[in-house]
Symmetry: T
Subunit: 77 residues, 12 copies
């Protein structure tokens, strides 16, 4: 059984609704060009303020996926 | 175009419902005396436990806003 | 008034719905054998990806509770 | 029951005697204008050296207190 | 000579007097059920404020001890 | 000789020219209302990008000054 | 499908041979009483020095396993 | 209004002159293939020494830009 | 002599044998499409557990290489 | 007025009595060969356990002093 | 080809002009007694405030150089 | 029984073979002039890449030893 290599890219998802929506937004965007995303890790939660409440949640994620073939190392999101 | 200075204050919002509510609670409280809040960053998420589930979410935020005039450096929240 | 000692154990709660659900799941599981949980702190938020959105949120918590009697130092969750 | 908001300010207490004295010095100073301080966290312990022993202990604290009314967000120490 | 395994548990000691008392309180409590504690590391120093000075020092420790037999891995404090 | 208490506030200075200018801008703004600033520490260096080079340097500083009288604990910048 | 809860315990493995041996030693010891260990994370690598080379490698691990039933929260290693 | 996704890539700029030059060098290089860079954050400042002074400043940056279309997730610098 | 720009990508190598094998596996995979890799930094060592010993070592690396021409900023691994 | 250079060395002081004693012990030892120590910073507090209470406090310090002449760069403690 | 050993010493350079000057000042001082300095890493940027702008930049560096012969391990700066 | 003082120096060992070899190389070099090294801690693991695999492992260590007499504070490695 061969050893695997994974790649981690950093994305920032945004949402005016919730932290979970911001995460899912970034994952959805990344999955349009990378079909086999494996896991994510939240690196930072920040956002903008508008009229005294959250305008946009901005969640920075590291997103990991397996490098299946050499060309996959060019996959970015 | 003049250079700007911003100030960051640390607040802890609390909510029995969700992390997002705790963030919005702190931002709402701060906006009562500072009208031009710009951004926030989550520094810590903790809370109390009651009857086997979350009692209160306690979310520590750094909240940033522009120092528009000298007196604004006394603005705290 | 005697000085108190507290114990902190690390748990990972999981949920397909939300970060809050993952936290409450871990706290609920721990409360089945420890009735007097006091507080928690979020140490890490990560998860799995499935079909371009979050499969499972996995939230690592430190959970604290008071050591009421010697045997309590064996309480783990 | 309303959700609470807390404010954290950073102070540095100093003492030629002990770390505990430095902490109490900063808390005492802050309590002259803020009566309802709640908790503190030690962020850094450093100091000066004089004649081969400690001259002054300098202990950086985050000090938290509840924002009871809008004006309290201007309370600084 | 066999290789050893050690276990680290996290405890929070408290004292109204000093940081050292808080550390010793947690170690004393743990030693009631674990006789062979080896070392500790201070992870956090915080506390409560009462009447403008420290109410309780709360010191979080990692405490290490050797796993002498399988059953020792259940030793918690 | 009495023990001193210091206060640290967080400011973000900005400049289109250099990191040093951003630091001096924040210190200059703060000194308009606090005459006795003592020291600063750089906490973060970031900025905006415009046309392929730096638009604004944004430097987050902790700025320390001595609390000379109770009212000084309200000094913010 | 129910949500899972995991527990993380901290162990220090030691070996005079290699970092990998130290990790395997701690995992082997833990598996004597916990059959379903899932993953580990290296938190610290240190050791002793003897005659100008490594005496013992001491590797601190967080080791995770699923809490299958209430009693499992008492599993420690 | 749709939610946005951003991508962060890590670059190291170098300059024999100044930290600012090293930052601008990396941003200039990246802007040759990505026209809409938004922000950067300094992650590390290091360098080489030559004849008793700095040879090259080497500044590690995280550089962020908006993912405008699926193909943009392949943009790297 | 022109200033250089480098790019850092994050990879996770895996091996059932050793930490060194996991590192070499990721570097070997990356070198299939990028011939001029320069350096690496270990960011995390973790792994899976199988039958009481390490199943897979998973080592997260930052891998750096020089951006020789604009197209190289699209090189990912 | 010339620019100054300082040197920082890392020492571990130990005491069976208190954290302050451990700090003073290390500073006293260092001052036997370096007369102009300026400041210290606490980097770690740990210790040994003996009979259920602290055996030795071990406090790691960074200690700074000015490099007055070239030979001073060889001063270590 | 033999394996090399390097030594890292911590220095603080100061300058009233710029961060770069502070770095070069420390490197210049160190090079008076160590001719083969290799690299540096910035660990902290802080300074004093005078009349509302920077008095002295104080930049803490780790400076590395190769240990060419046993006596070199006594080289400090 | 007198209190002890220890000194920690930072070394970087290198090896083309393994992380353990790099550690032992630095310890062996240091032991040529300091006979009583006590312990080490790994602070960083990095290296160079050559032909798609590791060229040199470079492991940064803090190495501790007891200061037995004043002159020992000049011992560096």
């Amino acid at each position: 059984m061969p050893d695997h290599t994974y790649k981690i890219i950093d994305l920032v998802g945004s949402s005016s609704e919730s932290i979970e929506d911001a995460i899912n937004g970034a994952l959805g965007r990344a999955s349009e060009t990378i079909s086999h995303l494996d896991w994510f890790q939240v690196k930072e939660i920040r956002g903008t303020v508008s009229d005294g409440h959250v305008g946009w949640y901005q969640v920075t994620l590291g997103v990991g996926f397996q490098v299946l073939k050499p060309g996959d190392v060019h996959r970015e999101a």
